[in-house]
Symmetry: C3
Subunit: 131 residues, 3 copies
């Protein structure tokens, strides 16, 4: 298992982690396989979406905040129930394939850590498996 850390900058923040994942894939010398990404937090997830225009990440953050506002009449006493709910909507793991030693992403795709209760330092876990 590989791990790296990501610093987020806002309460709700999407950070492109594609290059860190690609670096670990390159170091692994796996030619064909799958990388699984796992976020070991309960208020932070992972998604794959457009990395070319930063307005896409901005619109995702804005709309998830509209669908799940921080002040939603929640009972959990830490005041971050919205962060937990957004995390379950986005998910904690993703799989991406590897061919010829490289991540197989679509032309516009990047991998984003989604912090919903930042800013913080977050961890990303990865496994790279041949096959």
């Amino acid at each position: 298992m590989k791990t790296f850390s990501v610093s987020t900058r806002e309460r709700v923040d999407l950070v492109d982690i594609t290059s860190q994942v690609a670096q670990e894939v390159a170091k692994s010398s796996v030619g064909s396989g799958t990388v699984t990404i796992y976020i070991p937090h309960t208020t932070c997830g992972v998604t794959i979406n457009e990395s070319a225009d930063p307005d896409v990440a901005r619109d995702i953050k804005m709309h998830l905040t509209k669908l799940v506002p921080q002040d939603g009449g929640f009972r959990h006493s830490e005041g971050n129930s919205d962060s937990h709910i957004k995390t379950s909507m986005i998910g904690s793991s993703e799989n991406i394939f590897i061919e010829n030693g490289k991540l197989v992403l679509g032309m516009w795709q990047g991998i984003f850590l989604c912090d919903f209760d930042g800013p913080r330092t977050r961890k990303v876990y990865m496994k790279i498996v041949e096959g």
Copy 2:
């Protein structure tokens, strides 16, 4: 493939299944690998979220019910379109890593079966793969 059953208690219910998954991992004697969890139902999913405070699961249930109410003007005649929609928002599978023979979960993380059309007996499928 391993399988176990879970009894849910309400129409919308999150049940912590971490200990059952951990038991299967212990029995498998896999030291390093990945467990994949799969829910073979169309109105029931799986998520990873906080297991320490039960108010988190309560708030997730409450807010998903607000976002996708049972009476949402749906056409599907069984009256559980909301359950199908919530299932696709949460997802049917999750991956968790194994190191030193144990599940690698974050400090606050637990694995939850999410029934959206209970109470029922639900099945959980698992595969534990070395790597």
Copy 3:
């Protein structure tokens, strides 16, 4: 890695791809394992849900459009931010198990490509791994 194409017919469209996936599994001659499905697009995802009654897919499409309308006050200039947001809510990958050379799906389950910015020709990537 296997790949196949799917033609979608509407802006928001769920297309049942179970038979194409099952065919690839049959051709692979893998008896026991996992198939991972990956969608290499940023406005198109994959979900598992009921394939028996087409009204379920219709209700999913309708409600996701209600939760994330196309005209949501977004900044991304291409006018498809809603499609990106729906994609992150549904997810880009799924895992399904294989036993006895066949997909292990629940009685009512089918695999759906979810186009949120169609109609278009979309690609599906798959890996079939023994284990």
